[in-house]
Point group: C2
Chain length 467, copies 2
């Protein structure tokens, strides 16, 4: 006998948690599709030489390699000298997207708007709330040669629509622009590689605090003067409180280098289009401390935080990059995109008590009082399914109390009962476990009645109508 | 520069193919939920010692092992002597289900009805139409200690609902019962291990043909007499043409051993309940040649074929088994289930010209004639999204002809145009690319008008209403 256990660092859910998770996935997907993003899926593994175009990074140290049984023996015989295994699990959805776009370039229309919601794999050290397998929900818009800044403005509208639909509390979409940052650094005499180093320090402000970052900036390696370091920190403190405040704060930054002005123009364009898109101004803010450590961002950068749960950190991040797939194609493919790490978010929301188990996906339990009623119960169940309801039939007669208890624990709302009295009258009794009510319906009207009840509740609960 | 390429044996789709595939997945999921099955997902990998409880089988030779970069070095140093890598990719959804049910036994209600639609991995030899990564869509009902035969009767009703909804042509659900087979074998003096061997030969009838199987049965190892072999083949030819014919053919088999009678009673029960469930009798048939080679089936067995495409073979198979998780728990967990190998089915349907690319998931392209119109186009797009439509906004002005061409190629049905004339009148022009018509609508009514058009078409096309 082997002890059944899930691998460390994976999130496996019980059915009612899985339903709650699936509803979040569905909501995100529906919203992405609402904005005209197209679905793609890529294989869980890539060829190792295709996936690992860069070497030695943190990411690569976390890569999972895959090999079939046959190849395993060969590798063991030959030792590591023979090179890497043929396959490796994807560690994000960005490298597979780059490979996909480069490989299918001639079959795609640009700008290419894709969404992708799949699991990714990282050999993280096992610890609470850190996952080795987790869902990412990504959108990206990829241009050919060029991509208008207007796409950067649409992205926060998608973020807004997603988190408004998920209904997990007030949130703020914060954004910045790395051109503005780097242009401003230039004005302070910070040039070249030092800019990236400073960017990474700024990015750590939330975690390390101002004092630690100030010390680093003035210390060895950076050697910024106290005045410049202080100016940098003051700059990083800029947050806007409203749309007009954002414009005013951008204006108050004074004149700067061409790169700085380009970044400022881009931020203004994003602000203008966001207003046209009707995104409520309480939901977005300029935050000049946002740098996003990843080296490949070059323009707009985004983070999103839950107002009541700042400790969760950014729940949706991304930005603009110059060239998606330079390792795979000579075509220049600039893009802008965001990612939601849904497994981690779900886990955090559950820890914070914001999401829990869902009602069952089963709407109706058709009870069975005695075996003679089975054929009728089966036919009635099919009638309810034809009306669009999800139905479980009790296939073995047992005490009604037991059946009620089962429905209650399972989160099933309606129990349909047909005893001798009801059969004689051509009706069924319906127990509504949510409302704690019982009522009678003519059999022929049962499907439409329960369907209406369900849709009314879904509408009240802010859920989409079910198909 | 590295040539971008997908790993051999994987199926990667372009967006419009992905949409077609996704619609099939959605239809299957909706149908499974309609019958009260609950979703679960398991990690893509399992601990190797948990996954590989049996050794030396065909399946294990096809297993993909997974190891992180660190572990890889260690394995290469120590050679294979150190044992298997820690993790392995799942090769089906049945072993993960067994592990899940055993691990979460005390948190589940039995009978446990679960569906699971995820990818599985097998290191198959690369060949056309054979996949190393493919979707399986499974349902199983798991009982504790016992599970009524009535569940076996519900399964074909699910199969019927799935393939009716997928609308890929006429199909036949064929079933048999291994108790009936083994009981009948007993009557012919075929006992013990020989029964399983004969079962496996019977299962090959379709592939090898009667002559080859007859020869094997009479040859060394089996040594059946010509009379018994002939009786066996005649028995295997039994197919029912209707519900009553099925009952008549079962009756005509004469009396048999207790095991035979048990199997026949079970088949009769399945037939009776299928009729109560309203499954059309043209859609199901008894076929006494179906044995399903897998050793773990013990009662009802199912196969499903497309009437016009017998060469595709079974598109949905499964059966009843005695004990799901004997490797992980002392609890006895009998079950019944089926599996649809959707990647392979999709590939075959595409080869046969039955499915192709889908219309776009994008309903509307909001065209842009000049940059001054952008803010209005953005606001209009949001208004359409609020009406439940999927909308792409053209963010950069270009010739209308180009925008039309783009929508046409992308499979987008509606293009919304607002030129000076339309703006003056407070209307927009709508080009319906499917009907080849153009009409004008007041801006305020655009959302509801297009929504109604879309729902009418979806209803005609037999698609579910979109949420």
């Amino acid at each position: 006998m082997i002890k059944p256990r899930t691998p460390p660092g994976t999130m496996e859910l019980l059915p009612r948690e899985q339903i709650a998770f699936q509803r979040m996935l569905d909501t995100i997907r529906r919203t992405f599709e609402g904005f005209g993003f197209l679905p793609i899926e890529t294989p869980v593994f890539e060829l190792s030489d295709v996936l690992l175009t860069k070497t030695g990074g943190e990411t690569e140290r976390q890569v999972y390699f895959v090999q079939s049984t046959g190849a395993l023996g060969k590798l063991a015989e030959s030792g590591a000298a023979d090179g890497l295994p043929e396959l490796a699990l994807r560690f994000d959805l960005t490298v597979p997207l780059a490979r996909y776009v480069a490989e299918h370039e001639h079959d795609l229309a640009f700008p290419f708007r894709r969404y992708q919601m799949q699991r990714v794999y990282r050999g993280e050290r096992a610890q609470r709330g850190r996952f080795r397998e987790f869902y990412q929900c990504d959108i990206d818009v990829i241009g050919k040669d060029a991509l208008s800044i207007r796409h950067d403005a649409e992205i926060p509208a998608v973020i807004h629509a997603v988190f408004a639909a998920l209904d997990i509390g007030e949130f703020t979409i914060q954004f910045n622009n790395r051109k503005l940052l780097r242009g401003w650094f230039e004005g302070q005499g910070i040039e070249g590689d030092a800019q990236m180093a400073v960017l990474r320090e700024i990015d750590k402000l939330d975690k390390r605090g101002e004092d630690a970052v100030r010390e680093t900036l003035q210390g060895e390696g950076f050697g910024l003067s106290a005045v410049v370091a202080e100016r940098l920190l003051a700059f990083s403190r800029v947050r806007s409180a409203s749309h007009d405040d954002a414009l005013a704060k951008l204006a108050a930054l004074g004149d700067g280098s061409p790169l700085f002005e380009e970044g400022r123009d881009e931020l203004r364009e994003v602000l203008q289009r966001l207003r046209a898109l009707g995104v409520p101004e309480a939901r977005y803010s300029i935050n000049l401390s946002i740098a996003r450590g990843l080296d490949y961002y070059t323009g707009t950068v985004y983070e999103t935080t839950l107002d009541a749960h700042p400790q969760i950190g950014s729940i949706c991040s991304g930005g603009r990059y110059e060239n998606l797939a330079s390792h795979y194609t000579k075509s220049k493919l600039p893009g802008v995109g965001i990612s939601i790490g849904l497994s981690r978010l779900f886990w955090q929301l559950r820890e914070a008590g914001i999401v829990g188990v869902a009602e069952s996906s089963v709407d109706v339990l058709v009870a069975l009082l005695d075996d003679a009623g089975l054929d009728h119960a089966l036919a009635l169940s099919q009638q309810l399914r034809a009306a669009g309801l999800n139905v479980e039939t009790q296939l073995e007669a047992r005490k009604l109390g037991k059946q009620m208890q089962y429905a209650d624990r399972a989160g099933i709302r309606f129990v349909v009962i047909r005893g001798e009295d009801e059969a004689a009258k051509g009706v069924v009794a319906v127990k509504d476990l949510r409302r704690g009510e019982q009522f009678e319906v003519a059999e022929g009207e049962l499907g439409s009645t329960l369907r209406v009840e369900r849709e009314q509740w879904r509408a009240q609960a802010g859920l989409e109508a079910a198909p």
